[in-house]
Symmetry: C2
Subunit: 256 residues, 2 copies
């Protein structure tokens, strides 16, 4: 992966049995990766783990020292299977407390005592945590040192994450330039390998696809230097042309 120098890195932890069982298709990793990428933070690792205390605690402790940031999604609701906050407290060896600012927000909506008691479980954060605001109106998320804890519902997670813009340290923003070719990868493999060898600061990837009954591949150059990306893209286009195919220049930061 490009630009290890000065890179700011992150790990995403997707917490939830429902992702591992196949009941729910995760879309949070993709959103976090795109958003943080635009902020100059590169996701280098992701784990999907079950709602099991020992696993969550051990995983958080394993990854929080290895990456600049950790972002978790899931398990911060009010039911018995929402154990993320307690696990983060255990991982850091601190007690869990009811955060007054979250409690205020929760109490604004009246409810019978037993329901309020359940709802207030969402006010629990590890002692020393700071809050991550929740523009969707519900209880806030929190950060404990470099670990950012967010909701699992995509719209709520996205709202929480948006409030962190400008709050995190950042490295170079990695851009991409994509060239599409309807050719088998083998036809250009040698040329691509040569281009990669000659440009170690950028990352030249080939991502094959099958669409409209045809195989093709997206040739994606990634790196921090846009001028260099465009130079490499020209070489890639020439390599595709050299084998008699017509490359399609999708340009900068194409989703393709």
């Amino acid at each position: 992966m490009p630009n290890a120098q000065n890179a700011v890195t992150a790990c995403v932890l997707i917490i939830g049995n429902e992702i591992l069982s196949g009941r729910t298709q995760d879309i949070n990793l993709n959103h976090i990766a795109k958003t943080l990428g635009n902020w100059g933070i590169q996701i280098k690792h992701c784990r999907v783990i079950p709602d099991v205390e020992a696993i969550i605690v051990d995983t958080v402790n394993e990854v929080r020292g290895e990456f600049d940031y950790v972002f978790t999604t899931g398990g911060i609701g009010p039911t018995h299977d929402d154990i993320t906050a307690v696990c983060i407290a255990k991982a850091f060896g601190v007690e869990i407390i009811e955060h007054p600012d979250i409690a205020v927000r929760i109490r604004k909506r009246p409810a019978p005592d037993d329901i309020m008691a359940s709802r207030l479980l969402m006010a629990r954060v590890p002692k020393g945590a700071t809050l991550i605001d929740n523009p969707s109106g519900g209880p806030q998320g929190f950060a404990m040192e470099n670990v950012h804890v967010m909701a699992g519902i995509p719209s709520v997670m996205q709202a929480m994450l948006s409030t962190l813009e400008g709050q995190l340290k950042s490295g170079p923003i990695i851009r991409s330039h994509t060239v599409r070719a309807f050719t088998g990868e083998s036809s250009i493999a040698d040329a691509l390998a040569k281009i990669q060898q000659e440009h170690p600061d950028s990352d030249v990837g080939s991502y094959p696809f099958f669409r409209d009954e045809r195989y093709g591949t997206n040739l994606v150059i990634r790196g921090a230097d846009i001028d260099q990306l465009q130079q490499i893209a020209k070489l890639v286009m020439a390599a595709v042309t050299a084998i008699g195919e017509t490359p399609e220049d999708l340009g900068l930061d194409a989703d393709s």
Copy 2:
């Protein structure tokens, strides 16, 4: 998670920078989880890792002893960034060889020497590997002991995986029974916790969602014993009714 007894477990490794950068939305984990779930194999863990040799080798060695099976997707094409086969060989400490059966299939489609040489990179497997057939017609995947190595393109991965039906050991098949309620989770949190406590062999989960401008939650009971699932579902329905809401019984194995 339910039914640890006799459970057959698996870990999925999604190998590819394009997933971590956010360029590509992974859908392979979800398909593998659903398919293996129906075969009596539970996914307990998933990691998304970059195309970096040391990371792939270390990760494979870390997880292959911890789970009954490991399934990888991605990185078995013919370009310089396709390093999975080499990494698996290194993880097992064996040499990489050209498998004659894959080479035969590759050579069936004629090509100039240099393109054929690139294509034949897809015939490389660790010495001792067995093949995973590829009904989509391309080069086969392979298994090295309990590690199953498949393509990253979803349609190709799905074709490869389908050939393993009946070939793997299996445990109890975990079924689900879903009850949907348009209520905040807090309103039923206590009742759910009580139901979970009284039925430790099943897993009672609450998965909130936001849809049509309303919050709701899918109450999902998972376990191997369908009769027990239905009994628990009745208790959950009653708990929702008790708070004045109308539960919706989505029944067995609902996608919801």
